[in-house]
Every structure is written in structure tokens, then in C-alpha cells.
Amino acid sequence: MTSRHIFVDGVFRQNAVYRQILGICSTLAVTNLLSNTLVMSLGLVFVTAMSSLTVSLLRTVTPSRIRMMVQVMIIATYVIVIDLVLQAFLPEISRRLGPYVGLIITNCIIMGRAEAFAAKNPPWPSFLDGVAMGLGYTVVLMSIAVVRELMGFGSLFGITVLPPWFTRWTILTMAPGAFFMVGIVIWVMNTLDPPGRAGQAR
């Protein structure tokens, strides 16, 4: 498997959000503002990549019976790093994201990749796989956030771009809009790129 394969697979073919329906909680929760989404996605890319790398480096010395525990601890460590960095440098965004930063730990994407890929492969491909999975998540989240912020608040990254006569679709910034947008994204992506027999996770 070449690096290019790993990337295409991670970002599109096995995209965590719309193909495997993983990590939906945070997808729904943080996509109302682009700035929140960007920070959250970068955090996730970092955690997925670094924890995949670490799990892979330790894969020969980890007893298989307690490997879940070890993986959770590794992930939690990186999440603590992200959380402290955010609190120190971006306190405003850290406050807005609230508990969702900590919830990166239970984001099934990371555990899933650690278990399915990193525990069986050498460090470098695992790292790439983590980055690719994280990027796939980022792409989907950013596209949802663009629609939600543009239509809901009339702005992008907090800068107003739509003229005042455009009636804001406020519902999109609230909970129902989040569910609706993710549902639509899954529909559109399944239509553009129909999943094979093995593709559909659930």
C-alpha cells in the first residue's frame, strides 16, 4: 500500500464521517461557526496522527489483553495537550467548544484507526493514515460549517458577507439544522460516490 493509496482511502473512500458514520457527535456540535470547526478539526488531526504514531511504535510491546486501555491512555494524553494549548492561547474558542474538546477522547474515529490500522502497521504509514483520516473529517466538517455559518449567520469566519436583505436561516445554526445538514451530506456523498458492497458500515 503506497502513501497515495492511504491518503485517497482515508480522505474519500473510507471517509470517517459520511462513509463510516463515526465521530458524528462533534460533527454536529461544532459546525455552527467556521472558527470553532477549524480549531476542532486541527485538534483532531493532531490527536489522530500522533496517537496512531504512538500506538504503532508501541505495538510490539503492548500486551494484547490491555491494548484498549493503553490506547485510551495515549489518546487522552494528546487530548490533554490540545486542551491546555487551547486554554492558554485561544481561551475564547476553548470556552465555546466547552466539553467537546475533551470528548475527542471518545471520538470513535481515533479509537477505530488505532485499533484497525495503527496496531498492525509500522509507524510511518500509521502516521499518514491518521493524518488522512483527520483530513477527511476536516473536509466534511468545513463544508458543513461553510453552509451553516453562511446561511445561518450570513458570515464566514465571523465576517459578514451576505447583504442585510438576505433573511438568515437561523434554524441552521441550531440543533435541528445540524442533524439536517449531516443527513444531507451523507445523501449527497452516497449519490456522488455510491458505496460498494463493503463500503456501507451500517
Binding site: C25, G98, I105, T106, N107, M174, F179, I184, T191, Q200
Partner: protein, 192 residues
């Protein structure tokens, strides 16, 4: 009175699934049969209540007392994992029928972000002990309710003619959207 308000607001107004987006994975995965939805809901409610109580003690008596609050994530996730294990052993010894009913759902609960979210939220909001416990019960009841309603809708949905590419997760999310919309009607019920 204050506790009653907190309970109602957690169940209806700030429902964990429909307005905080916590616990979506089981919400989508397990909500296709009412019976399994009830089983998972009850098990989750139980673990949530226990987690709320235990994590309050850990947070206030150990982490804050020793000034290491950044260890919250690690310690909460450990608490949850061991609680789930404990519940599993306890139920297996005391009530085998219940164990058979809940069996497969128990390990799933560890990775349910609603539980960690509950522990983190009640730490973030600085709830007292009783408040935390009420919050935990409310969150569990709200989760169960959302799951059961969803399962009921999905059993009907099987008879409907859904576009092929929308089947499964897609239609479930759009149904959830409508459900969240109707739950927004409860918003005026409690101020703040």
C-alpha cells in the same frame, strides 16, 4: 424545587441527544428496535447516575484538592471504564435475566460520549453533589426517551419508500432533525 427544575430541563429542554449531540453513535446504531433501545437506555441511565456521583467525588476530593484538574480526562475515562466493568459483574451475579437482556450493550457504554460528556459538563458547571446526581439521572432518562422515540419512528420507517442513497444513517439523521425541531418547543418551559 431547584432539583426538579434541573431534572426537567435536562430531560426535555437540554436533551443530551437532541440538543447537545451527545451519544449519537448508539442513537444511530441501536435505535432500530424498541426493545433494544429500552435495554440500552436503562443500562446507560444506570451508568450515568453512578458516573455522576463517583466523578463528583474524584473531581472535588482528589483532583481539585491536589490541584491537578488537567487529569480530569484521564481519570474520568478510567472511572467510566471501571464502572461499566463493575456494573457488568454485579448484574451478572445478581440478576442473570437482566444480564442476558443488557449483556451486549454494557461494553458499548464505555465509548458512549454522553457519559464522558456528563462528567465533564457537571465539572464545568460546578454542580454540587446532589445536583450532579440529578443531572446524571435526567441525562439518562432523556437519552432513553430520545432513543425509544427514535426506535419507534424507525420501525415505521421500514415500511416507507426511502430513496436508496438516503437509507440508513441519512434518513435517521433527518428524522432526528425533525425530532430536535419538535423538542425545541419545550424551550420556553424553563428559563435559563
Amino acid at each position: 424545587m431547584q432539583y426538579l427544575l434541573l431534572f426537567i430541563s435536562t430531560v426535555l429542554v437540554n436533551n443530551f441527544v437532541l440538543s447537545y449531540f451527545l451519544g449519537i453513535c448508539p442513537f444511530i446504531g441501536v435505535s432500530d428496535r424498541i426493545s433494544s433501545a429500552i435495554g440500552l437506555g436503562l443500562a446507560t441511565t444506570f451508568v450515568m447516575t453512578m458516573t455522576a456521583a463517583v466523578s463528583w467525588f474524584i473531581n472535588h476530593k482528589i483532583l481539585i484538592a491536589f490541584n491537578v484538574p488537567f487529569l480530569q480526562y484521564v481519570s474520568f475515562i478510567l472511572v467510566i471504564a471501571s464502572l461499566v466493568q463493575l456494573v457488568e459483574m454485579f448484574v451478572r451475579k445478581t440478576s442473570p435475566p437482566l444480564y442476558r437482556a443488557l449483556g451486549i450493550f454494557l461494553p458499548l457504554i464505555t465509548t458512549n460520549c454522553a457519559i464522558l460528556g456528563l462528567a465533564l459538563l457537571s465539572a464545568l458547571r460546578d454542580y454540587g453533589f446532589l445536583q450532579s446526581v440529578v443531572f446524571g439521572i435526567g441525562a439518562g432518562v432523556g437519552f432513553t426517551m430520545a432513543l425509544v422515540i427514535m426506535a419507534g419512528i424507525r420501525e415505521q420507517l421500514e415500511l416507507a419508500d426511502v430513496p436508496v442513497n438516503l437509507r440508513g444513517a441519512g434518513i435517521t439523521l433527518i428524522t432526528a432533525s425533525l425530532l430536535a425541531l419538535s423538542f425545541m418547543g419545550f424551550q420556553g418551559l424553563i428559563k435559563g
